[in-house]
Subunit: 631 residues, 2 copies
Amino acid sequence: MENHRRHEVNLSPHRPFSTYFKSHLKETLFPDDPFQKFAGQPAGRRAASAVSYFIPCLQWLPTYTISSFGYDLLAGITIASLAIPQGISYAKLAEIPPIVGLYSSFVPPLVYAALGSSNNLAVGPVAAASLLMAAIIRDAVSPEEDPERYVYTIFTAAFVTGLLQLALGVFRLGIIVDFLARSTITGFMGGTAMIIILQQLKGLLGLQHFTNKTDVVSVLHAVFDNRSEAKWQSAVLGMGFLVILLVARNLKEKFPKLFWVNAISPLAVVILGGLIAFFVHGETNGISIVGDLKRGLNPVSISHLQFTSPYITVAVKAGLMTGFIALAEGVAVGRSLALLKNEQIDGNKEMIAFGMMNIAGSFTSCYLTTGPFSKSAVNHHAGCRTPMSNAVMAICMMLVLLFLAPLFEHTPLVALAAIIVVAMLGLIELHEIRRLFRVDKFDFCLCMTALLGVLFINMKTGLALSVLLSIIRALLYVARPSTCKLGKVPQTDIFRDVEQYPISASIPGILILQLGSPIYFANASYLRERITRWVRAEQNLIKGQENQDLQFVVFDMGAVGTIDNSGLGMLLEVQKMLDKQGIKVAFANPSLKVVEKMAVAEFIEKVGKQWFFLSVGEAVTGCRFAMQETS
Amino acid sequence: MENHRRHEVNLSPHRPFSTYFKSHLKETLFPDDPFQKFAGQPAGRRAASAVSYFIPCLQWLPTYTISSFGYDLLAGITIASLAIPQGISYAKLAEIPPIVGLYSSFVPPLVYAALGSSNNLAVGPVAAASLLMAAIIRDAVSPEEDPERYVYTIFTAAFVTGLLQLALGVFRLGIIVDFLARSTITGFMGGTAMIIILQQLKGLLGLQHFTNKTDVVSVLHAVFDNRSEAKWQSAVLGMGFLVILLVARNLKEKFPKLFWVNAISPLAVVILGGLIAFFVHGETNGISIVGDLKRGLNPVSISHLQFTSPYITVAVKAGLMTGFIALAEGVAVGRSLALLKNEQIDGNKEMIAFGMMNIAGSFTSCYLTTGPFSKSAVNHHAGCRTPMSNAVMAICMMLVLLFLAPLFEHTPLVALAAIIVVAMLGLIELHEIRRLFRVDKFDFCLCMTALLGVLFINMKTGLALSVLLSIIRALLYVARPSTCKLGKVPQTDIFRDVEQYPISASIPGILILQLGSPIYFANASYLRERITRWVRAEQNLIKGQENQDLQFVVFDMGAVGTIDNSGLGMLLEVQKMLDKQGIKVAFANPSLKVVEKMAVAEFIEKVGKQWFFLSVGEAVTGCRFAMQETS
């Protein structure tokens, strides 16, 4: 038989366990090989590389030009104009004093400018996480009864988020965020956006009483119950603002060059609303205003962080949940904008930057911040070049806090409600949901589970259900690896799935099966049954014909990336079982990791070295030769 | 280019969603294709097949011969001799009256004889599940204070187990049991066996007071604290029994034909112990006896099942946990014994049989039963032919219950303790644990987590930790699919991993990457980074040489079984990114499911149909031709 086999399978690779483990750990936690740059450099240079690796601004600042600064200045001012109304509005969603929203656009962007590696991301608070945080913290402390402690607990949650993000970045556990499927985020964001829009009915109608629950039924109920409080002045003003904002939004879509009209429209609405409220004495005429915005920079809050039960419990819960969502959004936004400029961003480094900015934020009266999509897109369109635009925004916010804050006291709540509604419309990605339905029904299910869960149960449950479902799917992926029967494509030495290529022909007496990956405990018994069924089906097929019996089963192992102990046991069982029926088993093209496992488990000796082949073609040749020898 | 390509990729397979979904569902839940036997038969015949499918005894009874019965009779009597001491001992572990252990070897085996499909399995209670059940139920009701309700709650747990097993079988969800890794079971059983052995110190030393906790520290503490209660009579007798049982066990290992000596040794010890206790008036001489075994068959218990809180809560908890373990053990035992005789057993049908026997058992004062390994192995060695041996055992037990039960009242507890110790020694598979350490370090971790968790925390936690770890591993399997660079094996058209086959050579200007399976949301960003790294490494490699630039990246998709929406998005991103660097992307050998997904997502049009090839070889030819054309 040997002269028919020119190419041997490499059956004796033996890496010691430590090497194997190290390579596995590296693939799991360091897929981007961050240390590669440092290799082969002297120690001093290596330390410098390491420092500039962790503080990216040291990389771009030395070559920073005045022309780049021009672009960043423009972009920074544009996003600052967005940061003021967004800061105030989202703080309202989190039920904290509006000034905290402004604080949160000062310190965190500064930190990000130093540590961030994305050139497009603009830092600020986000709507969905603000609402979710309020819903969780509310379980332990009421923002109405104990507003101070409530705010401090919110800061504590931001601190927890920061620690989480820092830890994920340092220990390179971005892999956990990978398990938040894009479809889950789409559904969660869409559902949350709908809830938030409905909640704005309170502001738009000028209602005084409302619900704290976040499901559709409760919110609509609250609107209906309190309809007698509605003020026409509020409603009229709200409609007007909505029209202005929607026109600005449509303008951007028709004439992309006019994106700045859209970008400054929220600030315009705030100023316009403030002027109206000021001149018509809004407060006495049915138009509630923000009120009470003290001049001054962020007060230090580090000593106010709440580390006692029950506050720390809800802070941890809120911090972890919002942290993951914020991270998933921030990293995805950074990545997709980087793609447009053909840049690379390092997910783990981003997490470290996010973590540091949230920790620093929690010490200085800021709440959770991340890189929201709307703001980052504006930053990108405005032509930002480096994270410097965040520093510019921070300086603008500093000036606002020092000098202009009290001017925004007159902002009518209805203007904020209109801004939030229009911002939220952008988060309901109907187009994406339709596409999911078309492309992947399961992704669509994940998305709808999150969306409907958020709408009709609550935000936490909707998110948790969708994540659970996606984990079950991940488990199902590995529980049922695909198997198929291969046939020879005529006039070639190529073997392909006979279902996919009906032209490919079986070899008499030989059944060729391709096994999917990975083979391990959770699918070993499935594969045993599936292989048995393939063999039975082949035997039934042959029985009808005047052909020879099934004598060989060739397993194409090319697709099997990993196999475990139970998987090898299963293959051995199958081999024994087939042997009793007089059918020999051959293995084609086992990969490196599989051969390693086979070697330590003494699988190769048990099956016989002569039954391992480099390719399916050679396995078939080998089997045919063996058939001729016996007949 | 076309004349260089003889073989087209089949790019237009389009199964409607319903077909796709049905085939997927079938693979997931019906891998063994149970309906295949019924296909193409008339309705009447099909109904008969269906009935005999669900009641396997209708298949074997019609051809049952007197000679088969001879074998089954012998095996049945042998396992009955084991069932008496085991029933009494394991009932003691579950802290229920010993007679319940005897009841449990009467009704369930009868049901199994009718519905079971394994010819080797012997039905009865098991030690580990008995102890676990007691530990859980004890949380709600104390066996000392309210013994009646305690027993009824145990019956309710058996009912829940039955329902669970029946549901898993009917809805074909055996897939859930697949996630209980063999290594987890090995560790759990080993740890539990050690705990049980330690607990027998109570019986062996004749202690009166003991602990209810199941961790090593508490048990040893209890032995130490109550050492003053120890009775020398008990200890001497216990040592004697241990020696007898261990000798019998070693005899079996040396002379396999004498297995029956080992099989009847527990009964012999019970009888011997009873005689001794009877003649020396054990009860007054420091030898506690079982006491109180009333004559009579199982009383009906259906009206005593506890469906009120808190009893139902613990019953459900205990029922589910023990149900999974019992199922995993029973199905594994049935399968491994079937393999010795080259028979097939149907996992889902077995679950239905187990479920029915536990439901019937819970109605007739039986507690949880399954197919324990020790008893089934004896059944197999004794030469059983069909499930009839279970019926024989049941009839023996009936006779015992009707006439002989009171004789066993004099059984000394120390005899039971010795029997349990020796039975448990068989469950500590040191040899298997050593093998796991050698073959698969992660499997070894799973095993040790369960074992140490059971020993030092408690049974539930040990099991839960190990299951959690195995799920995390399953998720890691799919989070980091393997990728490798392929090279051409000289003088062939075969492309293989260059790390595995250093002889294989790269093609100038073309990087060939094999992607692992599946590609989906949780690994899309990993793969993006990994591919980028491969490309970067290749470019660095080429830079040194006087060679041409990297112009093509060929993705060998042969190993990719499934891809989702995020995965396709990632590939498209990579293609765009490489395109900006002037590198073209080609795909070789996409499988049926992948092509389907690509077609609905319009991936093929976006990439260009000309970049799909049937094999890596053809892709390389195509790329080379394109290079010549442009140069």
